[in-house]
């Protein structure tokens, strides 16, 4: 869901000259930036790590020139500051722990843990970046966390048992799947009031919004359908049967395809959102793994539409897929029961939650390698990453 927000930002960016400019300018220097930033991060970490031993111990056993020490310190601080400038915060909802872990994406470590309500799952940032929204299903609400103070400052009338949500491109409207009541609730975020409901299939779950915001896709787990909802009329305009237990829906950013994951069916249905037809099914085969263990859940696609990542649940792997040919390029071994994912805004890193092993794996998107795992709270479920 967090990418819901990122996507809607990007979508809005298509109509917004400023956003467009900020998005396009880095492109020419992308390769340079790509190399320098992880490097800077490494240096920064090294320097920070080295800074402490360099400080004279209490009572001063080793004599350091105070000037040299302060220079080193200043240098370390400066580097740290540079790193901070492009560090993002990743917010991870821990379903069993009732907490949200905050990870500094530059340090790749947890910097803070926030207590939230019962059973936090779907998580995302509002378009203005002011709030982190987290579905606390067992409290029947969506909590609003202030992104600056990290305190819970309010709640949205989500309807019962909210699990996932999607933002409208204007950032003002939120669409929430209510798993217990076979419906999607529409909420005005600013006024914090419900605007209406749409009745869908049994156990609505995945929520995806078309780039223009006109078409909402909701998946219902026991009905096994992707329901296409016209956001203007709030009427269902198409229903597409997919394989068992559809979990997640993701539009390509050019709006040409919707991908829906079927957890029990073990496939991704690639749906034509104009004809409302499945045009391709992507299946997964991993040597040595039985078919039943391959359970696709979270889906993320890069902004250029070239690569898609699919979290395969108890297969403990993320599939990297060529989004044009729909062929699996590589399976990346991550933690146990991999569930949801989020890119950093520069799309260099992908953070994935591993529910059973209580950690988050970090994938380097360019090299398709898992570079780190970070311990978080109990049963991490969703992840969202701040834009600044």
């Amino acid at each position: 869901m967090q990418a819901r927000l990122m996507h809607s930002n990007d979508r809005a960016g298509n109509h917004d000259m400023n956003d467009l400019a900020t998005r396009t300018t880095p492109t020419p220097s992308l390769s340079g930036g790509g190399r320098s930033k992880p490097h800077a991060r490494r240096v920064a970490r090294g320097a920070t790590g080295a800074a402490n031993p360099l400080l004279p111990p209490k009572g001063g056993g080793i004599r350091w020139g105070s000037r040299a020490a302060s220079l080193v310190l200043a240098f370390a601080l400066a580097l740290a500051f540079v790193t901070r400038a492009d560090a993002y915060l990743a917010y991870v909802s821990n379903e069993k722990g009732n907490t949200v872990s905050i990870i500094d994406t530059a340090k790749l470590e947890v910097v803070k843990t926030i207590k939230v309500g019962q059973r936090p799952r779907g998580i995302g940032l509002t378009k203005d970046g002011k709030y982190i929204l987290v579905c606390v299903g067992d409290d029947d609400t969506i909590e609003m966390i202030d992104a600056r103070t990290h305190e819970i400052v309010g709640a949205l009338p989500s309807g019962p048992d909210p699990e996932q949500f999607a933002f409208a491109p204007d950032g003002k409207t939120l669409y929430v799947a209510n798993e217990d009541n076979n419906m999607v609730t529409v909420i005005d975020i600013e006024r914090r009031v419900p605007l209406g409901e749409v009745q869908v299939g049994v156990e609505p779950e995945g929520m995806g919004l078309s780039p223009d915001g006109k078409l909402l896709v909701n998946t219902s787990e026991t009905t096994n359908m992707a329901h296409f909802i016209d956001t203007a009329t709030r009427q269902i305009v198409g229903n597409v049967l997919v394989d068992a237990r559809p979990r997640y829906a993701e539009f390509k950013r050019d709006g040409s395809e919707v991908w829906v994951s079927s957890e029990i069916g073990g496939t991704i249905s690639v749906i034509d959102p104009v004809k409302f037809e499945v045009k391709k099914k992507i299946a997964f085969e991993i040597p040595g793994l039985r078919k039943e263990a391959i359970q696709p859940v979270g889906i993320r696609m890069t902004g250029d539409g070239k690569t898609a990542f699919v979290a395969l649940g108890p297969a403990n792997r993320v599939a990297a897929i060529n989004a044009a040919t729909h062929e699996v390029q590589k399976y990346l071994l991550v933690g146990q029961r991999v569930w949801q994912m989020a890119f950093t805004p520069d799309e260099k890193l992908l953070f994935v939650t591993n529910g059973v092993s209580n950690d988050v794996s970090v994938i380097d998107v360019a090299t398709l390698r898992v570079i780190k795992s970070i311990s978080v709270g109990e049963l991490p479920w969703g992840v969202a990453i701040s834009q600044q």
């Binding site: 798993e179 217990d180 009541n181 219902s220 359908m225 296409f228 009427q235 269902i236």
Partner: protein
């Protein structure tokens, strides 16, 4: 706690909204919702009159045991059906003592009902199935766990959603093996069903390397399941009954008739855990099961029926959902299309067990994980890690194809 905070009125309002939305959808949706009359799929439900007894008040079966599960699945199917222009209905038929199950199956077939959920004992089930066979009736066995119905007495027109005794026993035995509780004291009741479960447990012990150090029989000498001061006698009786046993790790009880097993925990002479018909019980469903989305199912059931969902409810739900699944995949209300899909390679059911459930093609048994519950919590779910199989790990539970005596024609 589940469902307690939800009021009863809201679901009804939702349902009204649902109907309104669907009607609006049909009017406005065009291609999405065809305007023709929905295709109707009527499903029969045949049930036994037998009064069931239980030692624990909590386990006395409710009057709508099983039927409620079928009704919930009808609701679920209809929610889906609203998008596909299909309608599902349940026709319940309750046999009275002495009623002929064959006549009941024929009566349903006369009314054009050819898909029948059965919660019957094995002989009654076979009579109903054999009567319906020439009339194209497919029976879904939701109630009988007898292995013989999937073995020497298997039928091409009976699909089984109830797990077999051998599946239940294997599910338990795998966990006991994982726990290294390999020395079993087996206590068997004196009724035929108890003996059949004991047979399954002996087979499981052999398969998974457990040793039955001794067997004892608990004779049913008649009498009521509950009396006002019965607990006093039970407390004296059970320790003595379990005294002087060879060294053992776990007491395994086979008591489907609810005569003694629930008296065993905390009363054995030696301090040992109890499993089987009491203590750690293998089952297809438990009211405490919440994993893999089961929480939603439990909430839905509680909101609709104001009670917890039983294993029989789940087995009936699975049967009706299988029919719904086949009807939506084939977009057909014809039972021959539905049955062909269920027997084909594309059928899979999502039933809150963490993996897809499929049919064993050689005897039409639904493959399924087995929950191990102590009545308060699901302790574990079998197959256990490390029990491997070349086709499906679910086939480590119960009689496998190479050993099967079933020949479908």
């Amino acid at each position: 706690m589940i469902g307690a905070r939800r009021d009863g009125v809201r679901p009804m309002i939702r349902r009204v909204i649902a109907v309104a939305t669907i009607v609006a959808g049909i009017v406005l949706g065009g291609a999405a919702a065809p305007a023709a009359d929905p295709a109707e799929i009527r499903i029969g439900y045949l049930r036994q009159p037998e009064p069931k007894l239980a030692l624990s008040l909590l386990q006395v079966p409710p009057d709508n045991d099983g039927v409620a599960g079928a009704q919930l699945a009808i609701d679920d199917n209809n929610t889906t059906g609203a998008f596909l222009n299909q309608r599902f209905a349940l026709e319940e038929m309750r046999l009275k003592p002495g009623d002929d199950p064959a006549a009941a199956a024929n009566a349903l077939a006369d009314r054009g009902v050819s898909l029948i959920i059965a919660a019957l004992d094995p002989d009654a089930l076979l009579k109903a199935a054999d009567a319906g066979r020439s009339r194209g009736v497919m029976v879904f066995n939701a109630g009988a766990s007898d292995d013989r119905l999937r073995e020497e007495d298997c039928r091409a027109n009976v699909i089984h959603t109830a797990p077999t005794r051998s599946m239940l026993a294997d599910g338990l035995a795998q966990y006991l093996a994982w726990k290294q509780w390999r020395r079993w004291l087996l206590v068997v009741g004196s009724h035929p069903a108890d003996k059949l479960f004991a047979d399954a447990l002996r087979r499981s012990a052999r398969r998974f390397g457990a040793r039955i150090v001794q067997e004892r029989v608990f004779e049913d000498t008649g009498g009521a399941r509950r009396t006002d001061s019965g607990v006093v006698q039970v407390q004296r009786q059970i320790p003595v009954f379990t005294q002087n046993a060879p060294a053992y790790d776990v007491l395994v009880a086979a008591d489907e008739s609810e005569v003694f097993a629930n008296y065993l925990p905390y009363r054995t002479w030696d301090a040992r855990p109890v499993a089987g018909s009491a203590g750690l019980v293998p089952t297809s469903w438990d009211a405490s099961h919440g994993q893999w989305g089961a929480y939603q199912m439990q909430n839905r059931f509680m909101a609709r029926f104001s009670r917890r969902m039983t294993a029989l409810d789940m087995q009936a739900w699975s049967a009706v959902r299988m029919i719904g699944e086949a009807a939506s995949r084939t977009r057909s209300a014809a039972s021959k299309d539905i049955v062909a899909f269920l027997k084909g390679p594309d059928f899979a059911l999502a039933a809150f067990k963490g993996q897809r459930l499929t049919l064993r093609p050689w005897n039409l048994q639904l493959r399924q994980p087995i929950l191990l519950s102590d009545g308060r919590m699901v302790v574990s779910v079998s197959p256990q890690e490390g029990f491997l199989h070349q086709v499906s790990e679910l086939d480590t539970l119960g009689v496998d194809q190479p050993e099967s005596k079933c020949k479908l024609d």
